[in-house]
């Protein structure tokens, strides 16, 4: 957690500005809304996307296959008035062709325009026909469906798309479904999970819905608000009574009524969908996973008509995967590089060998499951629990005990009942409230046994609860070295394109700071290289070499002048320079959806690959040369920056160092006005700056586009090449004894000189930080090779400030390779006394 603190402090100053901007109606999402939010597999759907900077949209790129975008066309024209135009958000009319075999569930996409890649948005796919859930509509002649009498009729096995509105009495929507008495009725609501990528709206729970299933007489047959599987989105699956009352209006048939309302009153209107049907709806899977790429018999539990077993073939790639049978929401299961061990209901479970995935159910309150494993001192395991992460109601309490021969505990047990996100190799989530993902309830620990022999891994519910659906899986495997490459943390609640977008201008380049986050148990600290896989034609990743142990590094993409304008999903891999080392590598970008001010994301869209777009040739470039002289510790260095304007482009451009080398001070953005092409980047080095070469790169962006420069939406951005900046030891060090001077007194202030780095010629020195009223008399001293001491002739005037002044220092200017290099050193004390 600690490493987030600095980041949070850094953005704190932005918060006020952001809030003010948001209050003015500013919105930093490039995509405000997607309507409808869902389409049926095999259908062609017209989708309207509203957002900003979408007028020149060229392409919609999905992260996974299944949806083909047939057409994109802007709707309407911007308002003529400048003020209105500034807040106008264009819309795109799109046609999505959803493949018959398109995966059910969430599909993440970005819109590529001529100049940028939008923030991420989502569209969902359902196996069922999509019907409208109609509210009162004069044109259609429909009434409010706020009760059984006015319920909207919908067929079974459909997905209803609707809105919960913000009326001041609270909206209630009721749907009438034909059912078979004694049969199964399953209802699943998607609300939080299909929310638009949006900043908060000042309330707690606007997306939070709850549902009830009623009979025609209004009797409640089932109700649900939150549940472990879908968290805030309700679901209910019931066996209907053998007899159901007929509808009061005499409609022939038997019906159930599905009522949807907000859990908590809200004055906003948001979309939701309800899937209604008779499909099987298990609540738990046991075992909840199996060895990678193999068939595994899984018992699905919790369906109202009873458990059933199916064989599921796990993916070849280990990880969590979504399994869909006949239900509309993927069921999360694990594919693991280890065999399954199932708990022995009769007693302790003997585990033949590790690694193994230990599966069990805390079926009764107070149950404790124990697995006996044999380990050797010096082993190093990662023990990771999957319960909340896969929708189990279990609140796991993991305990690892090391009994000695006499049955007594040899070393204190390891007890864990929660995890930080980092424990789960999850990074890049802004969260004020600590760990807010379902798996953060699941412990994950690196276990290094202190003794040889049989140990016990025990699992129970933290609060003593238990149920037949309280499944868990404990994956025990040797700890591995691995690094996750993580795109920059979202800024406050937005994905900021300025720092997190791979929009690379054609014929130019772009630089992104990538985070290298060590996974749990990682011990590798060596040098690495980041390489790209799956880049589109004409795009190259500039070779890089990442020093050992750094957590962030700039990587730069270049494009050929003729690179096709296109978007693509690609991968980055971190590779150790030492070929003998095995290092796992992964990628992630975690995007908060549906926040509220001051709160954490309810839903996080999690991406395990990155998206890149080649955008239009920019009308300007930014250039810097490798500095001819090093920057010395405690010194400053001025770097010339050249702006190359093309094609009559004369707008202001700002440049800055988005990449800040350790120990190097960089200035805030420098803006070059119309017509200006030259600027200076004034760098400074701390005394503790690491010595040696570091990458230096400048990025530049347009200033008159975008609602906020900090964010980057709507900007044209380019990057300079990465050049080496050398940090050297200081030239000299100055030291002075504490000195005093009386008003009216003239005396020498003497500084000892210690030489660190040789230089040629005489370097002038000035004294900085003297108190008011203390004057320095010419000539000022200089230092050269061999100078051991310098002195300043100082005089306390009658205006001199009485008292002690600290932090008086010397500034020496050395000219190297024609460039003036300034360096400060020393800390002197001067007391000014009154006249005697």
């Amino acid at each position: 957690m600690r490493r987030f603190v600095a980041g949070r402090a850094a953005v704190a100053c932005l918060v006020v500005a952001l809030s003010a901007a948001a209050a003015r109606g500013g919105n930093f999402n490039t995509i405000d809304s997607v309507r409808p939010r869902i389409g049926q597999r095999g259908a062609t759907v017209e989708v309207t996307i509203k957002g900003s900077y979408l007028r020149d949209a060229q392409e919609i790129v999905f992260y996974r296959p299944g949806i083909r975008v047939v057409s994109i066309a802007p709707i309407g024209e911007p308002p003529a008035e400048k003020e209105k135009a500034a807040h106008w958000h264009p819309q795109l009319a799109c046609v999505f062709e959803i493949a018959p075999d398109c995966p059910v569930g969430e599909h993440v996409f970005r819109v590529r325009s001529l100049t940028q890649l939008s923030m991420a948005a989502t569209f969902n796919v359902t196996p069922f026909p999509v019907v409208d859930g109609m509210e009162a509509d004069k044109d259609r002649g429909t009434k409010d469906n706020d009760g059984i009498a006015t319920a909207t009729p919908v067929p079974l096995n459909t997905t209803i798309r609707a809105e919960i509105d913000g009326r001041d009495t609270g909206d209630v929507d009721v749907y009438r479904v034909p059912v078979v008495p004694g049969g199964r009725l399953t209802v699943e609501v998607d609300s939080v999970r299909i929310s638009d990528f949006t900043h908060g709206h000042g309330e707690d729970s606007g997306y939070d819905l709850k549902l009830r299933v009623l009979d025609a007489a209004g009797r409640q047959l089932a109700a649900n608000d939150d549940n472990p599987l879908h968290v805030q989105d309700p679901l209910a699956s019931i066996r209907l009574p053998e007899s159901l009352p007929p509808p009061a209006d005499g409609t022939p048939g038997t019906f159930a009524f599905v009522e949807v309302r907000r859990s908590t009153f809200s004055g906003h209107t948001w979309p939701y969908v309800v899937h209604v049907g008779d499909w099987r709806r298990p609540l738990a899977a046991y075992p909840p996973g199996g060895p990678a790429g193999q068939p595994v018999a899984i018992e699905f539990r919790g369906d109202p008509l009873g458990s059933f077993t199916e064989t599921v073939v796990t993916p070849a790639e280990p990880g969590t995967f979504g399994h869909v049978a006949d239900w509309p929401t993927p069921f999360l299961l694990r594919s693991s590089a280890m065999p399954n061990v199932l708990e022995d209901a009769a007693g302790d479970t003997a585990v033949a060998a590790l690694p193994a995935a230990l599966n069990g159910v805390i079926a009764e309150p107070g149950d404790v499951d124990r697995f006996r494993v044999t380990v050797t001192k010096g082993d190093r395991y990662r023990v990771r629990v999957f319960a909340g992460a896969i929708g189990s109601p279990l609140q796991p309490r993991l305990e690892i005990m090391s009994p000695s021969a006499d049955g007594q505990t040899a070393t204190p047990p390891i007890v864990k009942y929660s995890a930080d996100r980092e424990d789960r190799d999850t990074f890049g989530i802004s969260a004020y409230n600590g760990s807010v993902l379902p798996e953060a309830i699941d412990p994950s620990v690196i276990w290094e046994p202190k003794v040889d022999g049989e140990h016990v891994i025990a699992m129970t519910d933290l609060g003593g609860a238990g149920s037949p659906t309280a499944v868990y899986r404990i994956e025990v495997e040797p700890a591995r070295d691995a690094i996750q490459l993580v795109l920059p943390w979202t800024l406050y609640w937005w994905e900021a394109p300025k720092w997190a977008s791979f929009a690379i201008p054609r014929g130019d380049r772009w630089t992104v700071n990538i985070n290298l986050m060590p996974c749990q148990g990682n011990t590798f600290k060596g040098e690495t290289e980041i390489v790209a896989e799956g880049l589109p034609p004409g795009v190259t990743l500039v070779p890089n070499r990442v020093p050992a142990g750094v957590g962030k590094w700039p990587i730069q993409f270049e494009t050929a002048p003729d690179a096709p304008l296109a978007g693509a999903v690609f991968s980055l891999v971190v590779k150790p320079l030492d070929p003998a080392v095995t290092l796992g590598s992964g990628m992630q970008q975690n995007l908060p959806f549906n926040n509220k001010p001051g709160g954490d994301a309810w839903k996080t869209v999690r991406l395990d690959r990155f998206m890149l777009a080649v955008v239009d040739t920019p009308p300007f470039s930014i250039e810097i040369d490798p500095p001819p002289a090093p920057i010395v510790r405690g010194g400053e260095l001025a770097i010339p920056v050249r702006l190359v304007r093309r094609d009559g482009f004369d707008e202001p451009v700002g440049f800055q160092c988005d990449w800040k080398p350790a120990g190097i001070g960089v200035p805030p953005q420098v803006v070059l006005g119309p017509g200006e092409t030259q600027g200076v980047l004034q760098l400074s080095a701390e005394q503790s700056a690491p010595l040696g070469p570091v990458p230096l790169v400048v990025t530049a962006c347009t200033k008159d586009r975008g609602e906020q420069g900090w964010h980057g939406d709507g900007q044209v951005r380019v990057s300079s090449k990465i050049v080496p900046l050398v940090v050297a030891e200081s030239f000299v060090e100055f030291a002075a004894e504490p000195e005093s001077v009386r008003r009216g007194e003239r005396k020498k202030m003497v500084w000892k000189v210690k030489h660190r780095t040789p230089f040629e010629g005489q370097a002038p020195v000035r004294i900085v930080g003297l108190p008011k009223g203390v004057e320095v008399h010419e000539p000022l001293p200089t230092v050269a090779a061999g100078t051991e001491e310098i002195a300043f002739e100082i005089e306390g005037t009658d205006d001199a400030l009485i008292g002690l002044t600290k932090d008086i220092t010397c500034e020496v200017t050395v000219t190297q390779a024609g460039q003036a290099v300034r360096q400060r050193s020393g800390r002197g004390f001067l007391r000014v006394d009154p006249r005697p």
Partner: protein, 756 residues
């Protein structure tokens, strides 16, 4: 009746409320020869704990205003009322060797010089050199100021020579003797070492030597305090017998019998039964949190059956509004507040979950002890379940503070304020620091961890946690129930045992607390009042009633509706507010009904119901009733700034604490002004269309006026009132504006504002 017999085995500690113990125990003491004058053998030298410490106590040296203050006084500190004899010994004897205690020349001990004002002493002269106190201290110093740690039996009880005084007239005095009982069975007279106070000096005074003097008619209690014990005796000063004739009212219920017994004893004549109109309005406001409707009024008044009051009570008890009201009461007590940004897990969703759960319990008629037990032992998600929110809502802080939780828990569920014992043994009750820290340990392992979404916290007891440590010596204090002997075993969640002890039918503290709160809700005042300050020195105004109410609740298996039915069916509940000659000044004995200003939420809902204009409360849909809501506020729930002006003005509980005093019923000028000129009434007069509808549908002005009276006041106007109203109507019998004025006047009447 928990008081132990005076001959105690050393390991048993004195427990239980002491009033009920009284005379029988004293008699036993005398019979056993350990009363006055039967002192045990006197030691050669005075004992520090047994003889010297009591001198500090009696002389006031270790009082909070003197050396007993937290930082001592003038550089010398003693433990408050002597809770830490070991520390006191060290400070007196060892802190400044030879100064405070000079064993070579005892008379030069600063202890003696200061106490006798031989040297300047801020506290002045406390006793002179001839006194017993001086002799005790000097002899102890002369003996070398020995410590007697472990050598002196622990004091286990203090017994009074009598527990009741009845004076026929003001003026006479009678003595009260005080005896300390020790763990070895020995005892001694400590009348001259104890300190005394009276709860009402206008009824009886008690002097420094235990002399009780009657001062004026009434009943009160006098107390003796010695060591960690405070013991009380009842004092009744009777009014003149002349003119008093007990009317012998019907007493069909245990409540009537116990209240009337007490009144007869005190020579107070109860008021008569209230009329049907008053009863209907009273019981409807009390059980349905609103005034009766016109239809209800007419039906009730037309009903000539003898049992119509009982039937009405049952009808109201079966209604949803009764559930809403009691949900609100518990919601306030447990501080249910939902915020839009509350990192402590008190977001709106969790508040809703808790509120809905509480509502469901009252709807299902869940026994109160089961209801409480489930919350006390609750673990799990604050979103998925209601009960665990007990451990977030009572706290409303980022960190869960076991001490605060223990104090709030005790205050709410036992009516006992134990927090004094955090720093010293409770000065006015029986709770010691050992009791306190052992009780805190029930909460020291409670943890709240993040759940699967931002609003969620999961609550559980960490069985590996350390118990609370004693403030004085840092001892770990394993969890032990108040008044219990055996600590709970470690390694398990002790809250199950806590819940079981707490809610057991034989736990008088719990059952009497709940019963007294129910009584206070219906009668406007607890038998112990305030209801959340049950202590030895704040005894019940009618001990038998207090005990009987608790016993009855347990007998009813903690059925809320059962006890409410008992109370509302009693003649005592149905007494008139019109006083008799002898009960006008009575505020404690339930001799007549007292005017009770409506709770803020009930008042609001009453105005809404009468005017037909729905309420609009922040973050609730239009039409929600005030009684159904709970605070949903922007931001953090810890700031407690959620009350709308109306609710603030009318004293709605702020939910900043669990204190019963949070709900304010006092009338204020601001309240009157709010109703007169505020928008609550003004904006509703015409908006609901009530008046226009009446004018249109009623044939005569008299009918309209009568309907308005019934609607607002649940009674018909008398002849004088009707005449005055008709005069106002004048020759505009169909002008709604005149009737709106009448409507306004009725809504602004004190009669409307009060339950009577």
């Amino acid at each position: 009746m928990n008081r132990p017999a005076p001959r105690l085995v050393p390991s048993v500690r004195a427990r239980g409320l002491r009033f009920a113990a009284g005379a029988a125990a004293a008699a036993l003491l005398v019979a056993g020869g350990v009363g006055h004058g039967a002192e045990s053998a006197v030691a050669e030298a005075p004992s520090f704990r047994r003889d010297v410490m009591p001198v500090f106590f009696r002389a006031g040296c270790n009082a909070g205003t003197c050396h007993g203050s937290a930082r001592g006084k003038d550089g010398f500190m003693l433990s408050l009322f002597g809770y830490d004899p070991k520390g006191d010994y060290a400070r007196i004897v060892e802190q400044l060797p030879g100064r405070r205690v000079n064993t070579a020349v005892p008379e030069r001990s600063l202890l003696l010089l200061k106490a006798t004002a031989a040297v300047p002493h801020t506290g002045g002269k406390l006793f002179d050199v001839e006194s017993d106190f001086y002799r005790t201290l000097r002899d102890w110093v002369a003996a070398g100021a020995p410590d007697d740690d472990g050598a002196v039996p622990e004091m286990v009880d203090v017994v009074l020579s009598r527990t009741s005084f009845v004076f026929e007239t003001a003026g006479p005095s009678e003595p009260l003797g005080v005896t300390a009982v020790y763990a070895d069975g020995s005892s001694r007279d400590v009348t001259r070492l104890a300190r005394y106070f009276s709860n009402n000096a206008s009824v009886a005074e008690i002097d420094a030597d235990g002399g009780v003097t009657s001062k004026g008619p009434g009943d009160t209690n006098v107390f003796a305090r010695f060591g960690r014990f405070t013991v009380g005796a009842e004092v009744i000063v009777l009014p003149p017998a002349e003119g008093f004739a007990w009317p012998n009212p019907p007493a069909d219920t245990f409540i009537d019998r116990l209240v009337f017994d007490r009144l007869e004893k005190l020579r107070i004549v109860p008021s008569g039964l209230c009329d049907d109109e008053t009863f209907l309005r009273r019981v409807t406001l009390d059980l349905a949190a609103r005034p009766p409707t016109v239809d209800e009024y007419r039906a009730f008044m037309a009903d000539a059956s003898a049992d119509k009051r009982t039937r009405r009570i049952d009808e109201l008890l079966a209604g949803d509004e009764f559930i809403d009201l009691w949900t609100m009461i518990w919601s306030e007590q447990m501080r249910i507040i939902g915020g839009s940004y509350a990192p402590q897990g008190t977001l709106v969703k969790s508040a809703d979950a808790f509120q809905e759960w509480v509502h469901a319990q009252f709807a299902a008629g869940r026994p109160l002890n089961e209801f409480v037990a489930e919350m006390v032992a609750a673990s799990g998600s604050n979103i998925a379940a209601g009960p665990p929110n007990f451990y977030t809502m009572m706290v409303h802080k980022p960190a869960l503070e076991p001490k605060q939780l223990a104090a709030d828990f005790s205050q709410l569920l036992l009516g006992v304020q134990i927090q004094c014992a955090e720093c010293h043994n409770h000065p006015f009750d029986r709770w010691t620091m050992d009791d306190y820290y052992s009780f805190v340990s029930f909460f020291s392992g409670i943890r709240r961890i993040n759940g699967v979404e931002p609003r969620e916290k999961r609550i559980f007891f960490d069985t590996t946690s350390e118990p609370a440590r004693h403030l004085v010596d840092g001892r770990p204090m394993p969890a032990r129930v108040l008044g219990g002997v055996q600590p709970e075993p470690g390694g398990v969640d002790p809250r199950k045992a806590l819940a079981a002890w707490l809610t057991a039918p034989d736990n008088r503290l719990f059952r009497e607390n709940l019963a007294n709160r129910i009584w206070a809700q219906l009668m406007g005042r607890g038998v112990v009042d305030p209801v959340d300050d049950v202590r030895v020195s704040n005894p019940p105004s009618n001990p038998a009633l207090f005990e009987a109410l608790g016993a009855r609740l347990a007998e009813l298996e903690f059925d809320l509706r059962g006890l409410v039915r008992d109370i509302c069916s009693s003649r005592v509940y149905q007494l008139s507010t019109q006083p008799t000659a002898s009960n006008a000044l009575d505020t404690r004995q339930f001799s007549h009904a007292h005017l009770r200003r409506l709770r803020a939420d009930v008042l609001m809902d009453s105005i809404v119901a009468i005017t037909g204009v729905p309420g609009r409360f922040p973050n609730f849909p239009v039409g929600a009733r005030a009684i159904e809501t709970h605070p949903r506020q922007q931001g953090d729930t810890g700031n407690g700034a959620h009350l709308e002006p109306f609710f603030h003005t009318f004293g709605q509980a702020t939910r900043k604490t669990v204190a019963a005093a949070e709900t304010k019923r006092e009338p204020t000028l601001a309240q009157a002004l709010h109703l007169i000129v505020g928008d609550t009434v003004r904006d509703r007069l015409a908006a609901g269309g009530v008046v226009r509808q009446l004018v249109e549908t009623k044939s005569t002005p008299e009918d309209v006026v009568e309907e308005l009276f019934i609607r607002v006041l649940a009674r018909k106007p008398d002849g004088e009132e009707m005449a005055a109203m008709i005069a106002l109507v004048g020759d505009s019998p169909k002008d709604p504006a005149v009737y709106e004025d009448i409507f306004w006047s009725l809504l602004n009447s004190t009669e409307f504002l009060f339950n009577h």
